[in-house]
């Protein structure tokens, strides 16, 4: 029974990842991260991604309460005044770089557009880009959390399976 759960979870994770790649939410850099994960560094992907979320949230000044509720609605706000385009440009560069480093393809692309708008002092463009950015960022965050939850469940299920197998082996 538990074995079936593990396989089911693995299939679900593969499906979710396939969707995310197909949508362009993730790109092959994410695959690189997965390849770097092994027995010596078993949680590498989730560690890096969690750093990414933690660092990114510093870029958003929060209006109120926690960010990114699980129903997908995002509470994060970049400085809506856009008072300092230069500072925003610096933040965007950082965000762009880290998004690229984890394979967050769509987020990165919105950053590019956002940066272009800020370089032109295009306020309307910046507002639009900010909306898009919030949307993409929250979507990414929710989906990756989903993925990591499934992974955790899979590990637990796989761990629960082994004591049964060991008992069977001892009986021989």
């Amino acid at each position: 029974m538990l074995g079936w759960g593990v396989d089911r979870l693995r299939a679900d994770m593969s499906r979710l990842l396939a969707i995310l790649f197909h949508q362009g939410v993730l790109d092959e850099q994410f695959l690189q991260l997965q390849q770097l994960q092994d027995e010596s560094s078993p949680n590498f992907v989730s560690e890096v991604v969690n750093i990414y979320f933690h660092e990114s949230e510093k870029l958003f000044t929060k209006s109120q309460g926690p960010t990114c509720k699980t129903d997908g609605y995002c509470d994060c706000r970049l400085d809506r005044e856009f008072s300092d385009y230069k500072k925003m440009g610096i933040h965007l560069n950082q965000f762009m770089g880290s998004s690229s480093s984890i394979g967050a393809n769509r987020v990165r692309n919105v950053c590019v557009a956002f940066r272009a708008a800020s370089e032109q002092n295009n306020r309307a463009g910046c507002l639009r880009a900010l909306e898009l950015l919030e949307h993409e960022y929250c979507y990414l965050k929710n989906k990756l959390h989903e993925l990591f939850q499934m992974e955790q469940q899979r590990v637990l299920a796989a761990g629960a399976r082994y004591p049964l197998q060991q008992q069977q082996q001892q009986q021989h």
Binding site: Q32, D38, E55, G97, I102
Partner: protein, 233 residues
Amino acid sequence: MAITGDSRSQFHVLAVDDSLIDRKLIERLLKTSSYQVTTVDSGSKALKFLGFQEDEQGNPDTPFGSPNNHQEVEVNLIITDYCMPGMTGYDLLKKVKESSSLRNIPVVIMSSENVPSRITRCLEEGAEEFFLKPVRLSDLNRLKPHMMKTKIKNQKQEEDQEELKISEIQSDEQQQPVQLPSPQPQPESQPQPPPPPPPALLLQHNNNKRKAMEEGLSPDRTRPRYNGIPTMV
């Protein structure tokens, strides 16, 4: 003394990047490739780690560089991000190449932006490679030759110091006059990159003394200028 095949754990890389994520990434990439890694988040911390001393100049009266090694730990390669607040990767590269004790350490620059003029500038300043981010495992395969070159050179210099001590005790007439056949480029010279000596040549003891004297005594020797090398993107 032969260098064994996959002895990469004896290579120590200093990685410099202000982004925490990129530091984590490069550290993992390097460890996966079996290198020892130290990461720092700024150029100034990198220089501190290297034991850099601001007023250090190359002294022509002391050949073979300064015997007192200011480095606390041996670093075989520096890999640095280009865009960093304060001291950029380019500034760090310059400081390293201007330092007599550090200039032999190969430097690699990383950048998320593909700017050809930036790449050229770094290569001209003495960077060995320029990697576009995000850096891949396959990129790291290009690092080993640069680190091997330094190891061989350091070993050779150590051996030559021994040789020279012995020969100083012996008579001077046996020394050949120092010739400069010069595979090394002269300063302000033609666009000729110095051909990397094949490892077999370096391991011979015959021409080592002469080569060492060329390298040590030539006060005009600037850091190598790379002209005419195809830009790596």
